[in-house]
């Protein structure tokens, strides 16, 4: 019988989503409430009554009735859309936040890595940050000292180890931070989407490190949007949706059904209320959609037809320089390419007045391959800084409808499937070569 590492029993977590709006009717009531609010809140503070929380507020269950058991040495991936409850689950298991109901038992030392470089201080040197960050992640001083050289070598920042990290490039910073975390040796390791950082070669190194962790028989629980990584690394996948477990099983099965379901669901997202739309004080999204260029059959996304991805957003601040950027992922989780509206700016100098903007990306025919594609939407400020990122902006399936006239009928491999111009000409006319074997 294998040993239990994590046991979760009907776990639930509720959040209050702001105060109910539109309940004021008169200015007088508003004023009374304004004056009364501090006292009311103060009284609430003293009571801190959970059951009382419901009055006037909306309750959202970020997790509801989640139960599962994980044995020692299992590597479990958690997938699901944004807001499905993945991060909440990890936060509860990391002891950062408490569940509202149910309980979880953790057998063994837990190390969690929900963010790369928590507690990094720009004024401190690389060396100092390694010690600080290690201590924050729960390593002892002796442990850090023992692994120090290994960490620095892994991060490839040996030359700059005594330079304040504010002079580091962002890539170096991330590498150093991940290197510290990668040398954490708990029995249970909890990781949230940290593989999304760093350049490709470093990502590969990180994946290798994680495989190593798993081989050592430690338990790993990780959230990722990278289906390729999930399939390669995990021995089991849990799919969360709206705070509940939809499926729990073999990676290939769960991932493909997850992709199938999200494919049928997400060809358009619209938010009409600017206050509820995803975004921040700089930008709010209104709409993102994909449609075929054929106006009569917009829902048909065929690889040999052009299609359009439309993004609408409210620019909340005048004179901002915003652009939409799309990351196009294939079914295997490979980033096929990125494209951005910055390539053709809306305004001459780029500065935009406040208001609603629409950017349309025209994808030509014969670019995408067949299969499910996932789009990550980024709103970029000043052509350099990502101000908002929507992880599961769209997901849709490209199909092949026209008949092929040549032999191979299966799926063409590759991230994209361009039809490129080929020329073949006869360079020299010869007599048929005499194929008699040469004497030795």
């Amino acid at each position: 019988m294998s040993k239990l590492a994590i046991s979760v029993e009907s776990l639930g977590k509720q959040f209050r989503v702001g105060a109910a709006t539109g309940s004021y009717s008169t200015l007088r009531e508003k004023l009374v409430d304004l004056v009364g609010a501090p006292f009311y809140r103060l009284a609430n503070l003293m009571r801190r009554n959970r059951q009382d929380a419901g009055t006037g507020d909306d309750i959202l269950w970020a997790l509801k009735d989640v139960s599962f058991q994980i044995n020692c040495g299992e590597v479990v991936g958690i997938i699901g859309r944004n807001g499905a409850g993945k991060s909440t689950l990890l936060k509860i298991l990391s002891q950062i936040t408490e569940p509202s109901e149910g309980h979880a038992d953790m057998f063994g030392r837990v190390g969690s890595l929900l963010e790369v470089g928590t507690g990094f201080h720009p004024e401190l040197t690389g060396r100092e940050n390694v010690y600080l960050n290690g201590a924050i992640l729960g390593m002892s001083r002796a442990e850090i000292e023992r692994k120090f050289d290994e960490i620095v070598a892994f991060a490839e920042v040996k030359r700059f180890i005594d330079t304040p990290v504010k002079h580091y490039s962002s890539g170096m910073c991330v590498r150093l931070a991940f290197a510290v975390a990668a040398h954490l040796e708990p029995e249970i390791l909890i990781i949230d989407e940290v593989l999304a950082v760093g350049d490709a070669s470093f990502q590969k190194k990180c994946l290798g490190k994680m495989e190593g962790v798993a081989k050592e028989g430690r338990t790993v629980l990780f959230v990722s949007h990278n289906m390729l990584a999930v399939q390669n690394l995990c021995s089991r996948v849990i799919w969360l949706h709206d705070g509940k477990i939809v499926r729990d099983g073999k990676p290939a099965d769960v991932v493909s059904s997850y992709l199938r379901m999200s494919a049928s669901m997400l060809t358009e997202q619209v938010w009409n209320d600017v206050t509820q739309a995803p975004g921040n004080h700089k930008v709010r999204l209104r709409k993102i959609s994909v449609r075929g260029a054929d106006r009569d059959r917009p829902d048909q996304l065929s690889i040999d037809q052009p299609c359009e991805i439309e993004v609408e957003y409210w620019n909340q601040r005048p004179q901002a320089v915003l652009h939409a950027t799309l990351h196009v992922y294939t079914e295997q989780g490979i980033l096929a390419f990125t494209t951005g509206s910055a390539e053709q700016a809306a305004m001459e100098d780029g500065a935009m007045p406040a208001g609603l903007f629409r950017s349309v990306c025209h994808l030509p025919a014969n670019l995408l391959n067949t299969g499910v594609h996932r789009i990550v939407l980024l709103i970029v400020e000043n052509r350099s800084r990502v101000t908002y990122r929507l992880e599961d902006a769209l997901s849709f399936e490209m199909v092949e409808l026209s008949k092929r006239h040549f032999g191979w009928q299966g799926r063409e491999p590759g991230a994209v499937r361009p039809v490129l111009r080929w020329t073949t000409i006869q360079v020299q006319a010869d007599e048929p070569v005499n194929m008699t074997p040469l004497p030795h």
Binding site: I96, E98, H103, F107, R109, L114, L132, A135, S140
Partner: protein, 282 residues
């Protein structure tokens, strides 16, 4: 079956569930994380005077300049009595622990919201945050204290044997700063109003503490009752231990220590009670 239960008990087991009401302080876990406490204090010390022209001199200037202003207005102009001690040293001996206290209170009161990023991403006993922010002020205190000793030599004052009691008074200041800091920081998470209250609080407290004036202005039993403000005990204790003022604190210190313990212990329990909501609210 028995073998499997054995292996289960061998590894540490944590049960995560909703906590209701008051919680135990769990000082043992706090002890396990003492290295983090050390590193966080150390970080604050390292970073505090980075990119300042005067550097650690600020630690000295803060109480020193206040002492000059006090000496001018209260000492020279208002002719405030000072228990027979030259006024500048009388004020400075009180300002050194006071600065440690008021900085500690301010830093710890704001500490949780300043560490919001960490609270949301890593688990550790949250008590470490306000405590480390006060501890990091100890270095500033040390600098200012050396100046105080220098000033005493200048005035030809030799510390009495009672100086051995100084750590007790320093602890009294630390405990008070922490006790109030715990209350404030936990409330600050939910109500940012606290942030704007802290400067007023320290200002009122400064004048409610016998820094510019001696507590001997009050007659007994009022003077002892005055000790309800724990900083009265700290300030009078410092003067007594260093300068040998005749105002031996005695019962006053006892009252101060009692108040400090009350604030500290209630603060710890309140903090622990609110702790579970920090990551969700901050």
């Amino acid at each position: 079956m028995s073998s499997s239960t054995e292996t289960l008990t061998a590894v540490p087991r944590i049960r995560l569930k909703a906590s209701n009401g008051w919680r135990a302080l769990n000082l043992r876990e706090f002890w396990q994380y003492r290295e983090l406490l050390y590193f966080l204090s150390w970080r604050d010390i390292k970073v505090r005077y980075k990119q300042t022209a005067l550097g650690a001199l600020w630690a000295i200037l803060q109480p020193f300049l206040t002492m000059l202003v006090f000496s001018l207005f209260f000492g020279n102009l208002a002719k405030m009595p000072s228990d027979g001690i030259p006024y500048p040293i009388f004020a400075f001996a009180a300002l050194v622990p006071w600065t440690f206290f008021s900085n500690g209170l301010t830093q710890s009161g704001n500490s949780l919201i300043q560490s919001a990023g960490m609270l949301k991403k890593v688990y550790f006993p949250r008590l470490i945050v306000p405590i480390s922010s006060i501890l990091s002020g100890a270095v500033d205190f040390l600098f200012a204290f050396l100046v105080l000793i220098g000033l005493m030599f200048w005035y030809g004052i030799v510390p009495t044997i009672n100086i051995i009691w100084l750590p007790v008074f320093l602890f009294l200041a630390f405990g008070t700063a922490l006790g109030v800091g715990l209350w404030l920081s936990a409330m600050n998470v939910q109500f940012r109003d606290v942030r704007y209250t802290i400067p007023f609080l320290t200002q009122f407290w400064l004048f409610a503490t016998p820094i510019a004036y001696p507590s001997s202005l009050l007659s007994e039993p009022w003077r002892t009752i005055y000790g309800i403000n724990p900083m009265v005990g700290v300030v009078e204790g410092f003067r007594w231990a260093l300068l040998g003022t005749a105002t031996a604190p005695g019962p006053l210190i006892f009252v101060s220590a009692l108040t400090m313990l009350t604030i500290l212990i209630t603060g710890m329990f309140y903090f622990r009670r609110m702790e579970s909501t920090f990551a969700d609210v901050v």
